[in-house]
Symmetry: none
Subunit: 534 residues, 2 copies
Amino acid sequence: MTDNRVYLFDSTLRDGAQTQGVDFGVADKIAISMALDAIGLDYIEGGWPGANPTDDAFFKDPPAFEKAGFVAFGMTRRPGRSAENDPGLSALLNSKADSICMVGKAWDFHVDVALGISQSENIDMIGESVAHCLTRKGEAMFDAEHFFDGYKSNRQFAMDCLKAAHGAGARWVVLCDTNGGTLPAEIERIVGEVCEEIPGTHVGIHCHNDTENAVANSLLAVKAGARQVQGTLNGLGERCGNANIVSLIPSLMLKTDFEIGVSDANLKQLTHISHLLDERLNRAPARNSAYVGESAFAHKGGLHVSAVEKDPRTYEHIDPALVGNQRHIVVSDQAGRSNILARLREIGINIDSGDAKVSALVEHVKAREYEGYAYDGAEASFELLAQRALGAVPEYFSLNRFRIMDDRRWNARNELVTESEATVTLEVSGQPKMEVANGNGPVNALDTALRKALVPVYPSLEDMHLVDFKVRILTPAAGTGAVTRVMIESADGEGRRWTTVGVSTNIIDASFNALHDGITWKLMQDGAAVPSGR
Amino acid sequence: MTDNRVYLFDSTLRDGAQTQGVDFGVADKIAISMALDAIGLDYIEGGWPGANPTDDAFFKDPPAFEKAGFVAFGMTRRPGRSAENDPGLSALLNSKADSICMVGKAWDFHVDVALGISQSENIDMIGESVAHCLTRKGEAMFDAEHFFDGYKSNRQFAMDCLKAAHGAGARWVVLCDTNGGTLPAEIERIVGEVCEEIPGTHVGIHCHNDTENAVANSLLAVKAGARQVQGTLNGLGERCGNANIVSLIPSLMLKTDFEIGVSDANLKQLTHISHLLDERLNRAPARNSAYVGESAFAHKGGLHVSAVEKDPRTYEHIDPALVGNQRHIVVSDQAGRSNILARLREIGINIDSGDAKVSALVEHVKAREYEGYAYDGAEASFELLAQRALGAVPEYFSLNRFRIMDDRRWNARNELVTESEATVTLEVSGQPKMEVANGNGPVNALDTALRKALVPVYPSLEDMHLVDFKVRILTPAAGTGAVTRVMIESADGEGRRWTTVGVSTNIIDASFNALHDGITWKLMQDGAAVPSGR
């Protein structure tokens, strides 16, 4: 039934970017949007073209999405200016977006206090902006800011704002609880009343979590008739965040009769995509997240565990495998044999689950995770770990030693300069190689020296470069016991991007481990041959 | 109206203690329960007497509560044994609790699979246990485990379980969504149906957050008739946690017609009590918590800030002071002049908006942001930047040079080791200081050497240490133009935590800049004096 189809609109890269401490680069936006498209989201809002250089760059050269509509966010035209002559609208229309989402006021108080214009001018701004967008783009939407406060303050005006957008041809009018203060029962009632005047198949909902009800408010809006839901990965967003699309997806799919564009197979990627975002943000995933948290299906010893062993339904509301998560028994950890098998299949390794190599790999992964390694977001390192367990990774080179110097001093022209210099001694097929190089810091110098030594033997390394470098200190409370985890993203001339991880008590050591994996992965992809020793 | 009175039941010390990694001692239980009593909670569940030594000790000598009922948790009598001869029940009745809360099965599937007893025996266990409790205690309650799953599986049996407790005189029958899988609309419907057969003034609700709906489910249960709500501070609890009582209290008080036992004055303690729990658990409070999080009333965008300054209701759903929280203006690349002025007032600098120093500061912030600095999340560096623009920051020390060496090699015991060593040459009041130190990496070695040189002059630096270290490469697409941003979080013995930022093309340089700010901020807080030069 068409009426049961709910459209998912992700705003991680736009409203989620308002989160305190979050600052996406273009590489982040590309990686996250591609993951969202792959899982089956209907709309991906990429940012606000014209507002900052990152969004301009992203909208100039966006990835090609398989399924999702690519949405640009902006404002309706300014007061006292025609839509045709509004530079903000022009930036939206000149972007490579499929669809334009424009925000405008729907609360009379805001029109009076914040804008200081007449209510009829506000309504004209909405209708004219939507109409103008549709001259250039196939789809336009209207985000009705503060809709619920506006509806309670002046119902007629709030509805007139929606009708101006709907009447001008907006595909969706989106009811935004901008301040996040509306409670579930009120959301349900108001959305129901709106859907009596505007068909719910054109009504969207956009909730914030200021009362910890954003997910429930979104679900109740759908129950009341709305058919588009806006949210963000992991509930990212300013203040207390937006509705968490990671919680909404499985609740809609597994617990209601509504239909969304995510397949059962893609639902299994949910835990992975949630962790991917956290890795991009360089922060630890919350253990207690609904559906995808490490503790979401954790059972402490005793009664629960034996009941769960008899029948998991006794203490689990869904099968964790449906969302790519796993049961976690705190006393005797059964960690992830099937999960690892699934991931092996994912990277093209088909192996019998009874093979002794699988047990060895499971043990190895557990040991590495105990040391502080994290393979969510470092797929290239996981792939190497798996291939090594199967004996399939050549030793392209081995390191004998390195020495790095960082020197900050006044140079001959009386400028304060910092120089980093690395000397490496390594072996390729038993032949020693020694090289020295400068860099923007110790890791960059080390990377440069390594590749200076290796390029003559493996020419394809020439076009490989370091794209991103992230550091996290683990167990910082432990003082001297602290361990450093480094994640390195590399890229090459063929458009490949891959991430590797290294862990050590010494940050330079951890960086070398991640660099070593990065170079090895690249050489394997290129099918490089280890030269025979002389 | 009596019907509008909702009773709050806190389970932080019982169900909250099931959280992975949480382990309350007796001192924690005393401090937390006294804070809960002071804020006006109706019931405080202290634990399970007879289950472990901590709970035994706590129930032997509990604090004297001014208002709250002190509740002991346990199980209904075992099968095949009389209530009088059940050692578990005896432990409850011998405790100093005012009230006993007993859990029992209400899902036929559990009775069949987990217990393996007849349904009538289960119903007898409930009624007889409640009746027996009331021979010794003034109040008994029944937690109906898995009530919602049970109701959907076998409505008659689930209701018979409730009625057995209610009929035997239980003050409350509590509907538990034990697996946390029930969605809001279903909770509302089922609670409404239950309240048609058992008066809502005897019905309680106990929700878990496995679908991120625990708070909404609790609110909707109250709307449907239930008059007792169980929850935990900060949503503590196993898996994804319990309903967060910190979110429930202000929503009920400020946004509904229901009455609870918390006064307006005590509501102002809400942020404090939430942080108190985190301190007891030795973890950083979540910035994005509803009502009480540091970001809950944070404003980032320039447009939002100027509107909030005109009238806070434009972008705040409640006055933050009502819950003891405060407005927070975030400085970021979206910052306008009004953001910066608001932020200056927040750190206690009152300056006329027309002052030329403000223009200079705005320009300076913009220039630094263009270089890659980010002050969102590095408040200490922003404060120094502002104070420097006003000429108020002493130069505690200046760096002449540093040299750092990282060496990876085989040591005498044939182990591969990496060593980092830093030499610094700096000046304090014209006096040169030179020191050398080892570390877990170049930054750690540099930090150690700097403080080795400075502690003799500024002894308060002794208890300062590095807590977190984050690195980000900016504009990675620019190749050689890439810049590194380092964020360093520091802490001291007085419980202060502060974050500083440094940017450079060289990561070591960027780290030094962030360290320099971190040390300077600490010395300013301590009111340290620069020694006069000899």
